[in-house]
Each structure stands twice: as structure tokens, then as C-alpha cells.
């Protein structure tokens, strides 16, 4: 069992259907790292899970379009409970233009494939407790971009 700082066990919450590849990949990684793992069908269930487990240090893994539902409020709620989010941004995902910058501003880890979640887990596990660390984008193990770099790539301005 990996500890998450003083008295807070770490927990991975994956937001995906049971048969989803994302759920399988996350469950596999959680088992590999000996982390507790819970699966939620949707972002609504994930809020309940995060809110009920404030004694845990939580990483929520899900698709960006699911986690960004309801005006992206999940990211703020997760931050309020000291949880971090890892969002899978797939090429064909129906994402509104301002969602990515907003997610990054909330400290969300963005990944392009399920194989990149391992890098996020490593970064999360090396952090003490659940600090609101810098936003990070894992495009692959070798390439990480800052928010500013990502926005430059996307050609978008950050509206502060």
C-alpha cells in the first residue's frame, strides 16, 4: 500500500464503463503500484466518490469530455477536496475549444493515450500528499509541455 502523505492513503478513481479500455488500463496500473482503486460510471458518481473520501489522497482518471461535463465544475470540486485529475484527451474527442486551457489551469494532468497514465502516476506518487502542483501534459514519456507551450501548439490564448 502506497501512502499519500501523513495519514492519507492514496486512491485511484477511474471514471469509465467497466468494459472500457481506460478502466482496464487504470486498474492494471493500480494493481501494479498496489494502489486502492475504485471505478465510477460517470462524473456524477465520481463527485460522490471524491466527496465521501476526503481522508484519501485521490487521483481521478477519466476522459476529458466526461470530466469536463457540467461546465467543468468537476475540476474545481476535485481541487477543493485535494484530489488531482488525469484526463485522457483523445484525437477524436468532442472537446470545446476552451476546455483544454481551463483544465490545465485547474492542474489537470492531460494524456493522449492510456499508456501515458503510468507517467502521471509516477509524478503523482512522487508528490508529497496531494499538492496542487503545476499542470502537466504527457504527450509521451519523452515529451512534456507546459501550459504555455501547449497553448502555443493549439494556437489559443489563455483567457485569465
Amino acid at each position: 500500500m502506497v501512502e499519500g502523505g501523513p495519514g492519507r492513503h492514496r486512491l485511484v478513481v477511474v471514471v469509465a464503463a467497466a468494459h472500457d479500455a481506460l478502466a482496464a488500463a487504470t486498474a492494471r496500473l493500480a494493481a501494479e503500484y498496489e494502489l486502492d482503486e475504485r471505478r465510477c460510471d460517470d462524473v456524477y458518481a465520481a463527485v460522490a466518490e471524491v466527496a465521501r473520501r476526503q481522508d484519501r489522497c485521490i487521483l481521478v482518471v477519466g476522459r476529458l469530455e466526461e470530466l469536463a461535463k457540467e461546465d467543468r465544475r468537476f475540476f474545481a470540486i476535485a481541487a477543493r477536496h485535494g484530489a488531482r485529475c488525469c484526463a485522457l484527451l483523445e484525437a477524436a474527442a468532442p472537446i470545446e475549444p476552451n476546455v483544454v486551457p481551463a483544465a490545465l489551469r485547474m492542474g489537470v494532468f492531460l494524456v493522449g493515450t492510456t499508456s501515458e497514465i503510468k507517467g502521471v502516476l509516477d509524478a503523482w506518487l512522487t508528490s508529497a500528499g496531494c499538492p496542487a502542483s503545476e499542470a502537466m501534459v504527457c504527450l509521451d514519456d519523452e515529451c512534456r509541455a507546459s501550459e504555455a507551450e501547449l497553448n502555443a501548439l493549439l494556437g489559443q490564448e489563455i483567457d485569465e
Binding site: V43, A48, R52, D71, R73, I77
Partner: protein, 351 residues
């Protein structure tokens, strides 16, 4: 219309109700919400978070506008809190609300109770008193004692129900049609009105007696209820005249496949036509012992189907158009159901 709850006049931790969604769609006096001991969350995720943090005696969920989110939100609220969940349903949401409250064992129910909107906040609060929720603080508003509220609800039922058949009465049907047409106007939905009456009904009253006439009306009500989809609304609007409001239930539509929807659009009003035909057939073969062997199989109906928005854009217009087509069906020999705008087009002849 959002409130954090901090400014509410109440005893912390007591009598608190969490209201979820757009409360303007549920309460006539939503602008007065700050007078009452409740917190409002319009964002669904914030609502679930608030519920999980506890301190609420009940959670009221405005169904209007939730569509596909309703079930996941209710599941999450159930997971987040042990407080009873009360659905705030528009008239057209009532069948879904009833199903969500009645289905499954109690521990798996999506919600614990439902109330039909619109209503006042005081009415909602005092209604909670019957479920062992302390509601003294609701008296800060237009307080209605629980006993009177219960009686009011009973009177409301009497005022909207036909006591002979148990169906909705004319008042209910017209108000329901008004609400559903208003929503259909906003969401490009479909509504079809069926008016029908029993051919030669006076003859059955005169020849067999009024008890037999009443029995025929009751059988018609039972058969039509059985033929309709659960969410269609059936009413007796006078004498031997009945009305059915067919509409697109978004809760059902959400589970339809794209192919189903395409088919439904192409064939509309295929469902009302199908239901009307089935009713016509079953009513004609109904076994009414009171009529004796010679009366069996003699019952027929005449009717008309009017569609929103094609045949009318208001309740009044739809009723007028359907009534005119119904009279035309009578003049043309009875035992037929016409589509408005297509006179002589008996639905029995449709492919």
C-alpha cells in the same frame, strides 16, 4: 437563483433541504427561496458535492431539463447522502417520476417520493412533514399546516380526476396539453391529440340502462389505458368523450437508438395511429356481459388525431381541429378515426 445557504435564516444543521436544478421550473415563488431553510445548487456536480458534505434532511431534484442526466445524478445523490430524495416533476414527467419512485426494492430506488409541479415552496416544505422530516422552519414563508396541505392535495386529486373512470378529467388534460405543447415548442418535440367518443352511446344508456352505460365508459377507460404507452395521458373530457395526449418522452427517447428515432420521425404519428387502431379493435371485441350475447361486438368508436405543430400550435387549436374531424367522422358513417387535414383518411386504411 443560486444560493450558498450561508445567508439563510435557519438553525444550522436542522430543517435543511437541498434543491437541485433550476427551481424556477418547479416553484411558483422561486424568487423567494431565501426565506426558506434550503440551499440551491443549479450545477449538478456542485449539488452532489453539497449532498455528500451532509447536513440535509431532504434533497429535492427538479426533473425539468435533466433528461439523460437524471438517472446518473440520482445514483450519485443516493451514493452521496442518506437523506430522502424527492423528485419535482412537471405533469408530463409524472409517469417517469412514479416509475423511479416505485421501481425496485426500496434500497435501490432512484428516489423516495415525487411531487407534481408547479407548487409553492411552502407547499413543498409542508409536504415533507409527512415523511418525518422536521419542517418547522418552513413556517417562515407562507406556512400551510401539514394537515391542510394533505387535504389540499386530496382536493387537487379530486379536481383533476374523473370519478367514474379514474382517468384524468378535462381540466387536467387541457393543462397537461398546454404544458407539453409549450415544451414541444422549445424542443421541437411532437405532440398528438386523439379525441374519440363511443358511437351511439345514448342507445346503450336508453336500452340497457345507465349502469350499463357507466360500465361501457369504465371498460373504454381500462382498454385505452392498456393500449397506450405508459407516458401517454388519457382522460375523459365529458359524457362519452375521451382524449389522449401522445408525446415524445425524452426519458424514453434518450434510450432509443438513432435508427429508432429516424424511423419514428419518418412515420409520425405512427405510435398514436397504432394505439388508436389497437384500441378500436379491442373495444369492438370487448366482452361486456351486461350487453348480453346480442350486444357483444357492437361497440365502435369515432375519433380524430390532431398533430402539433402541423394541425395547430395551441391547445385550443388542436382541440378545435380534432373536434371538427371527429364530427366529420361521425357524419361519414361512424366507426372510423380521421387524421386532421386528411379528411376521409380513415386510419384503418393507412398502410
Amino acid at each position: 437563483m443560486s444560493s450558498t445557504g450561508d445567508s439563510l435564516t435557519r438553525t444550522p444543521g436542522r430543517d435543511k433541504v437541498l434543491l437541485v436544478g433550476d427551481i424556477r421550473k418547479a416553484f411558483l415563488d422561486a424568487e423567494r427561496v431565501e426565506r426558506y431553510p434550503c440551499d440551491v445548487r443549479t450545477n449538478l456536480l456542485e449539488a452532489i458535492d453539497a449532498a455528500a458534505r451532509g447536513g440535509y434532511d431532504a434533497v429535492g431534484v427538479v426533473m425539468n431539463g435533466l433528461l439523460g442526466q437524471l438517472r446518473p445524478v440520482l445514483r450519485a445523490l443516493r451514493k452521496a447522502t442518506a437523506a430522502p430524495i424527492v423528485l419535482l416533476a412537471q405533469m408530463y414527467d409524472e409517469p417517469v417520476a412514479r416509475h423511479l419512485v416505485q421501481s425496485a426494492p426500496s434500497e435501490e430506488r432512484a428516489a423516495d417520493a415525487y411531487r407534481v409541479c408547479p407548487m409553492t415552496l411552502a407547499s413543498f416544505g409542508s409536504g415533507l412533514a409527512t415523511k418525518s422530516v422536521p419542517t418547522a422552519a418552513w413556517s417562515q414563508g407562507d406556512f400551510i399546516p401539514a394537515g391542510i396541505e394533505k387535504r389540499m392535495r386530496h382536493l387537487e386529486r379530486l379536481a383533476t380526476t374523473d370519478d367514474l373512470t379514474g382517468l384524468n378529467n378535462r381540466r387536467y388534460i387541457r393543462e397537461f396539453a398546454r404544458q407539453i405543447i409549450e415544451r414541444a415548442r422549445q424542443s421541437a418535440g411532437r405532440v398528438t391529440l386523439l379525441l374519440f367518443d363511443i358511437d351511439n352511446f345514448k342507445h346503450y344508456n336508453d336500452d340497457y340502462g345507465h349502469a350499463t352505460g357507466d360500465e361501457i365508459l369504465k371498460q373504454a377507460a381500462i382498454l385505452m389505458r392498456r393500449c397506450c404507452r405508459p407516458h401517454d395521458v388519457v382522460g375523459r373530457i365529458g359524457g362519452d368523450e375521451f382524449a389522449v395526449v401522445f408525446w415524445d418522452d425524452p426519458h424514453c427517447a434518450a434510450s432509443e437508438t438513432a435508427r429508432d428515432r429516424r424511423h419514428a420521425e419518418a412515420e409520425h404519428p405512427s405510435e398514436p395511429v397504432f394505439v388508436a387502431r389497437r384500441f378500436q379493435s379491442e373495444f369492438g371485441h370487448a366482452e361486456l356481459n351486461l350487453l348480453g350475447p346480442e350486444g357483444r361486438g357492437t361497440l365502435t368508436i369515432s375519433g380524430a388525431l390532431a398533430r402539433f405543430p402541423r394541425d395547430g400550435t395551441t391547445v385550443q387549436e388542436l382541440f378545435e381541429r380534432a373536434d371538427a374531424a371527429l364530427r366529420e367522422a361521425k357524419r361519414s358513417g361512424k366507426n372510423r378515426i380521421y387524421l386532421v387535414g386528411e379528411p376521409k383518411n380513415n386510419i384503418a386504411d393507412l398502410p
